[in-house]
């Protein structure tokens, strides 16, 4: 019973969504189900907050390795929730000047806004910028010419790299350098638009078929592992 009812709900909703895609009068059903999912996700935030608090409190209490990070996480979490809920530093709304809490918590100048712009954004940008170093180290390993396939990959990468540079630089097509630029530009364009595009489309067709097969397995109840134990 514990798996049957959720399975029935999943199957009925899934098939209803498929029907709604093809039958125009049933299309508002899609929006309705999307609303249900949004409501469920919103309720799930309470579970998320509780889970986060419990997990980090346990780590701090047991003084597990890295418990200091948990303390920082908890402080950051509580401060952010606090300044957001209490609308700390929120500018007075011009519409309701007599109500100091009427402004939006995200308004420029509020403590929440300050935390986002001066703490969250720089940290996120720093982490994202690390990607450049990871790309370099991955490329170094991937492009080592250790076998025929790796050599082909290296040659293609080199061609694309040069082709991109040739495309950026403006040159006289009648000189030797201009001809080389044109050839490089055309070659790299062909690799990207023909060979790569064909490969990507093949992968996309495979993915579409895979999505259809997986969806059917789930909707027909062949794969019930996502429902847990009976």
């Amino acid at each position: 019973m514990r798996r049957t009812i959720p399975l029935l709900i999943a199957s009925l909703t899934g098939f209803a969504m498929i029907a709604a895609f093809f039958v125009k009068p049933a299309q508002p059903l899609t929006q309705l189900v999307e609303k249900w999912f949004t409501i469920l996700s919103a309720v799930a935030f309470l579970t998320a907050g509780t889970s986060l608090l419990l997990h980090h409190l346990k780590k701090i209490a047991a003084q597990h390795a890295g418990w200091g990070y948990s303390a920082v996480t908890l402080i950051a979490f509580l401060v952010t929730v606090g300044v957001g809920l209490l609308k700390v530093g929120v500018p007075i709304s011009p519409q309701f000047p007599n109500h100091p809490w009427a402004g939006s918590y995200q308004e420029e100048g509020s403590a929440f806004w300050w935390l986002y712009v001066y703490v969250m954004l720089p940290i996120t940008s720093t982490l994202f910028s690390l990607l450049a170093f990871y790309v370099a180290s991955a490329a170094f390993r991937a492009f080592r010419a250790k076998n025929t396939e790796a050599m082909l990959l290296l040659a293609t990468a080199f061609l694309i790299l040069l082709g991109r540079q040739a495309g950026e630089a403006s040159g006289d097509t009648w000189t030797l350098w201009g001809t080389v630029q044109t050839v490089l530009g055309v070659s790299s364009g062909t690799v990207k638009d023909v060979i790569m595009q064909a490969g990507q489309r093949a992968i996309m067709i495979g993915i579409a078929l895979g999505v259809a097969a997986t969806s059917l397995r789930i909707l027909l109840g062949l794969d019930r592992s996502y429902l847990g134990a009976d």
Binding site: L52, I205, G206, A212
Partner: protein, 239 residues
């Protein structure tokens, strides 16, 4: 029923065995999106098979999640896997946690954990974006055996470059059926292959038709090509 072998899945036993021998945990990342994404569901179903093997060998499996609904589903699945393995005592809900919805906040946690705990095996199966390479490269740097898989075409090259095995697109969706070994589920994998044959056939017919139309300007052939291209394959509006 013959189903072509998928190298990335054959290595799961090896990865669990390696982790057990080394006495180190395993890491499973089901992507950073919610349960409404089919890739997340596909990743989780593979996780349940890995969790079963992990329970058999009593090897810890860490599953940090970026969505709380994914955490709830993962906990249920790991508990069921431990029960199915006959080792319910190995299930530890503290190893399956919600971290944060924020992409790079999640990455910071996972990368920090990887550097501190040095997992022997890492599985990245689900929907990934820019974080794919950061996670996979960190796993590589700590010497973990890695399996990555996603249907995000832009992230696949990163997994191919940084992971030992990559499940490319459709293989991620075939994985759970392949691992289950059940004939009904394996049938859908064969269905995928037949679908590909159909797609290949349609491409060949389309190419031949388009060539014939451009050479002969035959109106009947042009109408057939139009029906195939603009009505059957179009997403609407005859474009």
């Amino acid at each position: 029923m013959y189903v072509r072998p998928i190298a990335g899945l054959k290595v799961i036993d090896e990865a669990v065995g390696r982790s057990t021998e080394m006495g180190r945990p395993m890491l499973f990342i089901p992507g950073i999106m919610d349960l409404d994404q089919i890739e997340t569901v596909a990743g989780l179903t593979v996780m349940s098979q890995i969790a079963k093997k992990a329970a058999e060998y009593d090897t810890p499996l860490e599953v940090p999640t970026a969505r709380v609904l994914v955490m709830s589903a993962a906990r249920e699945m790991c508990q069921a896997a431990a029960l199915a393995a006959g080792r319910p005592e190995t299930y530890d809900s503290d190893r399956i946690n919600y971290i944060t919805d924020d992409q790079f906040g999640y990455v910071a946690h996972v990368v920090g954990w990887m550097v501190r705990e040095k997992p022997a095996a890492c599985f990245f199966l689900g929907k990934f974006f820019a974080e794919s390479l950061i996670l996979a490269e960190t796993g590589q740097s700590v010497g973990a055996i890695q399996v990555g898989g996603t249907a995000e075409a832009a992230q696949l090259p990163f997994f191919v470059a940084a992971c030992d095995y990559a499940l490319i697109g459709e293989e991620l969706f075939a994985a759970s059926a392949y691992l289950s070994g059940e004939p009904q589920q394996l049938g859908t994998v064969q269905g995928q292959d037949w679908g590909k044959f159909l797609a290949i056939g349609l491409i060949v017919i389309g190419c031949l038709l388009a060539t014939a139309v451009s050479l002969t300007s035959d109106e009947t052939l042009a109408a057939v090509l139009h029906a195939l291209k603009d009505q059957i394959l179009s997403t609407g509006g005859g474009e």
